[in-house]
């Protein structure tokens, strides 16, 4: 085993045989982490499905208070960021340093755009007082919605904030990861030979995108 280290890549950890094995380990590790993420969001999705089944009317009414344009824009923004992320990985795979840097920057930018739009959505809700809390039902009625549905709408909004809040938190972490990645990548650290960190971070980013792909119809488009 000692001969291994002579020509070993700088990034190869001592307990791996070669970079290929190391890459395999980190991708598998990330996938397994994403499994836990699925189940983490899954708890909320379960609650959502149950309550939506039993409080359908209220859910629909509350869903209509969400801004479809902003939500739709965010969907586009996030899918676009997934594209740039995929292209960043491509850049690393093919050794196109400029492309890597540019795409990472775009990904961060799009991620931030998403968060800014989300911020406006949230602040609108705060402005109307349509946020979970004891004042919700009055504000709901004040805003001219069907009072009979106030309670169920409240539940919807609660779940809406929980789901999108958790998702936004993941976005913030994602933007952080991408920034670190960009910093590390600045002088050609990632090569066609070694780019597992880019790839693995990409998996995370796409996962966050997928969560939104489900959130969008489930929250904005129900009727």
């Amino acid at each position: 085993m000692s001969d291994r280290h002579a020509d070993a890549h700088w990034a190869l950890a001592h307990h791996f045989e070669n970079l290929e094995q190391q890459r395999e380990a980190s991708t598998l590790g990330m996938w397994i982490f994403l499994l836990t993420e699925i189940m983490f969001f899954g708890g909320l999705f379960t609650a959502y499905s149950i309550y939506r089944t039993f409080h359908t009317e209220g859910f629909i009414a509350a869903s209509h208070t969400l801004d479809l344009v902003l939500g739709g824009t965010n969907t586009v923004v996030l899918i676009a960021s997934s594209l740039t992320m995929a292209l960043a990985v491509y850049g690393a795979q093919t050794g196109k340093q400029k492309m890597l840097m540019l795409c990472l920057a775009l990904t961060i930018l799009l991620g931030l755009t998403f968060l800014v739009i989300k911020y406006f959505e949230y602040s609108h809700k705060f402005h109307l007082g349509l946020i979970p809390g004891s004042g919700f039902e009055q504000n709901w009625i004040k805003a001219g919605h069907n009072p009979a549905l106030a309670r169920d709408a409240h539940m919807f909004i609660w779940i809406y904030f929980a789901l999108t809040g958790l998702h936004a938190l993941h976005m913030v972490i994602g933007v952080g990861i991408m920034s670190v990645l960009m910093y590390l990548a600045r002088d050609g650290r990632y090569t066609p030979h070694y780019h597992a960190p880019v790839e693995v971070s990409g998996l995370y980013w796409h996962f966050v995108d997928i969560v939104w792909i489900f959130l969008f119809p489930l929250l904005y488009l129900i009727r």
Partner: protein, 338 residues
Amino acid sequence: MQVRLPFMPEQASTFAGEVDALYLFLVVLTGSIALAIAILEVIYAIKYRRRSPDEVPAPIKSSLKLELTWTITPLLIVLFIFTWGASLYFKLYRAPEEALELYLTGKQWMWRVQHPNGQREINELHIPIGRRVKLTMATEDVIHSFYVPAFRIKMDVVPGRYTTTWFEATKPGRYRLFCAEYCGTSHSGMIGWVVAMEPNEYQTWLSGGSPTESLAARGERLFQAKACNSCHRSDGTGRGPALEGLFGSTVKLQTGAMVKADEAYLRESILNPSAKMVAGFPANMPTFQGLLSEEEVLQLVAYIKSLSPRPATNIQAAGGAASAASPAVPAKSKSSGE
């Protein structure tokens, strides 16, 4: 199975013997399995003890036949246990057609009982033997669990809805009533007695005590006090549907679905009117969530129930054997208008 074995609670309901039978069957079955394994292990341990420090026994190839035997045999055994357990469960939890209906509310840390005739008690529950008793249960705060070991019956009382359970006592006596779901500081103090009495003694008990309003009559007063009658009029001219004949009928909802108007439905209609909207009516009934205690809701429910001609399933018919049991006579319910 009417024997009292050591380490068993008294058998005082129709279920007790059946539950004990399954229990004893399992004791014997699993006892012999455990014993067989233990004996085998002791024998092997003695017979095949290490005799010299370096001895290495010959390996034995595992046999598929043997593996399958000890996979399939336990499978058959557990399927049998499952069937037995499940059929018992069905009996325990399927409410009977005809029963004496009592109302129970749990509240940190006491049990409150309301009898149809208006008798109320705390931490005691008087019942006749030889009659099926159905409990409709609600809680004002956290989850509690109604547990009478001598009856082998237990059911959680869950906030936000009614749960029900039933039993039929077979022996007069005082039996312990426990709260089995942890509910806070005095969970272990939330205990009481179920007093099972001969039917005639039960009658005496019912008519004893200070004369009280019947449950339905109390509900009727509430119905007026909370101004329900401003919308629900018996002649159907109110803003809401008339409630006469509602209980036990099938209601058509706005969504087109049909639901049976049972206690749970009535409770929901009062506390969360929008959950199930009656077809043809506007959604203008206010919610009474937080304005009524569960006990009061139960009184309203009892009142609305009394507005229906009873099929065989209600208090009155149940009271047949003990006619004084239910003075809540629907006929006298005057139109709820003025």
